[in-house]
């Protein structure tokens, strides 16, 4: 039997790549999608290489995006993310991929799903159906296509490209229902073995608790290996995290908090300073606006996860918070110094009608590019 041709675009988004399909080009019955997506990626492959498809044998190279007309009025497109198993046949829609989200704006523009902008900047409102959240993509264009060339450097991608600003709308209260779960931008937590510690507990994209590295006797310029080797520091950060979990209403007790290690995330922050990076490059104080060392499930993160970056951006823009106090105030995006280099984030935070703080969006920056356009071929 001849192979089935399905129109497809293969794109890099941030530090991932994926096949992007139009919803209309996929089988009408969504139950047929897993077979199509698995075949297109060359999965499952017991050898773990996906040589018989477009995959690259690793999760960041085994992704599929489906784009269709919007199902809500405040969006231009619907976008669904599928994580495709490499050695197994899983097709997982439980989460979004922030990296691939950055490719959706250029895709929508170049496929004619949104009109070409009159000016040299496009705004595409992306409804991610996995998370039921709207993401606004803002990116430079020329002649109706997304710019690819640019000066923006994204860690993890060689060279530079045109920046794509991804605004995650209304990120407040993602885990707890409230942007400031304690009602305050600054709290003092009584941490066992440490005493009172000043923290900011904030819930934007993901609940996080921020503590000054100095409160733990560190500079905040330490690299992940040094933090990992510092058992006392890790233990104190976990104590802070558990106390925050209770204070934020995520867990009823510290014992319960210990059983929910994924949220809140805990991070040490520091003012701009001279700081080494994992690549060996040294950051100067003027290279970034705030330093962060984030802990992910008990281990120091080598960078900043997307949700953590958004949460930090919202915190920096929230008056009275610890990140607001420690960060340099500068025009434009917030430059976050982290172990892998500098990450740009931003947020729009304002006082609501009733005087409470509202996060309108948290933003990250990525680059993307189209790597091929045409068809993928599916056996049978």
């Amino acid at each position: 039997m001849a192979q089935t041709r399905i129109p497809a675009v293969f794109m890099r988004g941030g530090t991932s790549n994926a096949i992007v399909f139009h919803r209309k080009d996929l089988p009408v019955a969504e139950t047929d999608w897993p077979r199509v997506m698995l075949s297109a990626m060359g999965s499952p492959d017991p050898n773990g290489r996906q040589l018989n498809g477009m995959g690259g044998g690793i999760s960041s190279l085994s992704k599929v995006c489906v784009v269709g007309p919007p199902s809500r009025e405040d969006a231009d497109i619907d976008y669904t993310f599928f994580q495709i198993g490499v050695t197994d046949d899983t097709v997982d829609t439980s989460g979004n991929c922030g990296n691939m989200s950055s490719a959706m704006g250029p895709f929508a523009l170049e496929e004619g799903l949104v009109p070409a902008p009159a000016a040299s900047e496009a705004v595409v409102r992306i409804h991610n159906t996995n998370t039921r959240k709207v993401i606004r993509a803002v990116f430079p264009t020329k002649n109706g296509t997304a710019c690819v060339e640019g000066d923006f450097i994204l860690d993890g991608v060689a060279g530079s490209g045109a920046p794509i600003r991804l605004e995650f709308l209304d990120p407040g209260g993602a885990g707890t229902g409230r942007l400031l779960p304690t009602g305050r931008a600054l709290d003092s937590l009584d941490v066992p073995g440490l005493g009172p510690v000043e923290v900011t507990m904030i819930d934007a994209a993901n609940p996080c608790v921020f503590v000054a590295a100095q409160s733990l006797g560190l500079t905040g310029a330490e690299l992940p290996d040094a933090i990992e080797a510092d058992a006392l520091c890790l233990q104190r950060l976990e104590s802070i995290r558990r106390a925050a979990s209770v204070a934020m209403g995520i867990a009823g007790s510290e014992a319960e908090a210990a059983a929910i290690p994924s949220i809140p995330k805990v991070a040490m922050i520091s003012p701009p300073q001279t700081a080494p990076t994992l690549s060996g490059r040294t950051l100067a104080p003027e290279d970034f606006d705030i330093g962060v060392r984030m802990i992910s499930i008990g281990r120091p993160h080598r960078a900043v996860p997307l949700t953590g970056g958004i949460c930090l951006a919202v915190a920096v823009r929230t008056p009275g918070s610890l990140p607001h106090r420690l960060a340099r105030v500068a025009p434009g995006a917030i430059r976050v110094g982290q172990p892998s280099g500098v990450l740009q984030v931003d947020a729009d935070v304002a006082a609501g009608d009733d005087g409470t703080i509202v996060a309108r969006h948290g933003a990250v920056y990525r680059t993307a590019r189209r790597m091929f356009e045409g068809h993928v071929l599916i056996p049978g």
């Binding site: 039997m1 001849a2 192979q3 497809a8 293969f10 890099r12 530090t15 991932s16 790549n17 297109a40 060359g42 499952p44 492959d45 017991p46 050898n47 290489r49 996906q50 040589l51 018989n52 498809g53 477009m54 995959g55 690259g56 044998g57 690793i58 960041s60 190279l61 020329k142 002649n143 296509t145 710019c147 690819v148 060339e149 993890g156 991608v157 060689a158 060279g159 045109a162 590019r369 189209r370 790597m371 091929f372 356009e373 045409g374 068809h375 993928v376 071929l377 056996p379 049978g380």
Partner: protein, 368 residues
């Protein structure tokens, strides 16, 4: 004008490799510009090739450039380029037998040839090395057939067979199948056959080296005494084969042959030569198969052969067992009083077109 330009391509798996196949005429002619375009296309210079079509593995950063051949014999010229993974480099020196599996079908898909329906034979000249091969596969409704029952090691499932017949393999480097003039000789007390079919090899019986020939590549690599035993034999054989002092050369290769462990014709292990090949080299497989058919060689009589093998009437298949599977070698040969009359040695591979369209590269790399 967009920042990107498209280059027509078909993206194929060929054997256990993968990459874009393009018309040579759709790419820059000068090598520096060509390299820049291929590096960008594949995303070379990054461990995951995140910004290109590569898959973070040298078997997934290969490219093929095809054109109609002006050679009297060949239909298609196949120019191979191995793009590096984490370096911005392109190597035009080698060819690739796996990517070769996709060349015939890709030449059809790219409109370079229009074979009639049925079994077709495409004659291919490998531009990088000058080697020649025939590719035999099915055409239906004007297009290559991809679905089929042929399995190859390293690729899940099955697909339509692509038979590759390598030509001019006799005396590939030495000019003769038996460059020492002997079908079997003794070096350091071990019987060997010094044979040059596709690759010069020194082949010995496993039992003569105190192994079974059924060991895993890891076990063999751990056996320092084995390497110490055969390396002097290989060096002396290299001298006798006219290859000079081969102490720091990877050719000739060393191979061991043994009775089959499973359903194959025989078991073979291939040394590169200071490390055991994890499976089997395409070239080595042809050399082993010829040795098995060669009367009087160290391998004669070891293999289970199909009826009529070597009578010259029809091609037949020798299934060689390697450490993790088998590889099928299709032989067209006749055993004569003078030895072995080998027309071609071939391999059963498969290919699949995975995608087609235009591969996008930055415009500024290739200004016109």
């Amino acid at each position: 004008m967009s920042d990107l330009r498209g280059i027509p391509f078909v993206f194929m798996r060929g054997g256990t490799s993968r990459g874009p196949y393009m018309r040579r005429s759709d790419l820059p002619q000068d090598e520096a510009t060509l390299s820049a375009v291929l590096i960008a296309m594949m995303g070379a210079g990054h461990p995951l090739n995140i910004d290109g079509l590569g898959g973070g593995n040298p078997v997934a950063t290969k490219t093929a450039m095809l054109s109609r051949s002006d050679d009297d014999w060949a239909d298609i010229d196949y120019f191979f380029a191995q793009v590096a993974v984490d370096k911005k480099l392109v190597d035009y020196a080698p060819t690739c037998g796996n990517i070769l599996s996709g060349v015939g079908p890709a030449a059809v898909e790219l409109g370079l040839i229009q074979p009639a329906d049925g079994t077709t034979t495409v004659r291919i000249r490998m531009v990088n090395t000058g080697a020649r091969a025939e590719s035999v596969f099915e055409i239906r409704d004007g297009s290559p057939v991809y679905a089929g029952q042929q399995s190859i090691h390293g690729v899940p499932g099955s697909a339509a067979p692509v038979e590759l017949r390598f030509m001019d393999t006799i005396g590939s480097r030495t000019g003769a199948m038996l460059p020492t003039g002997h079908v079997c000789e003794t070096i350091d007390g071990v019987d060997v056959t010094c044979i040059d079919v596709a690759m010069p090899m020194v082949i010995a019986r496993a039992e003569d080296l105190g192994i079974t020939g059924h060991e895993s590549s890891q076990d063999l690599d751990a056996d320092a005494a084995l390497f110490a035993r055969f390396e002097p034999i290989r060096r002396e054989a290299g001298r006798r084969m006219g290859l000079g002092d081969v102490s720091d050369k990877v050719v000739p290769k060393f191979g061991v042959i043994a009775p089959a462990q499973g359903d194959g014709a025989a078991a073979a292990r291939y040394f590169m030569p200071w490390k055991t090949h994890p499976t089997m080299a395409v070239t080595g497989a042809q050399c082993f198969a010829a040795c098995l058919m060669l009367p009087g060689s160290v391998a004669a009589g070891i293999a289970r052969m199909p009826d009529g093998a070597g009578n010259g009437d029809a091609p037949f298949v020798i299934a060689l067992e390697h450490a993790t599977g088998t590889i099928d070698v299709t032989m067209e040969c006749r055993v004569t009083n003078a030895g072995l009359d080998l027309r071609s040695a071939g391999l059963m591979r498969t290919a699949r077109m995975l995608a087609r369209g235009e591969a996008m590269v930055p415009n500024h790399l290739w200004p016109e």
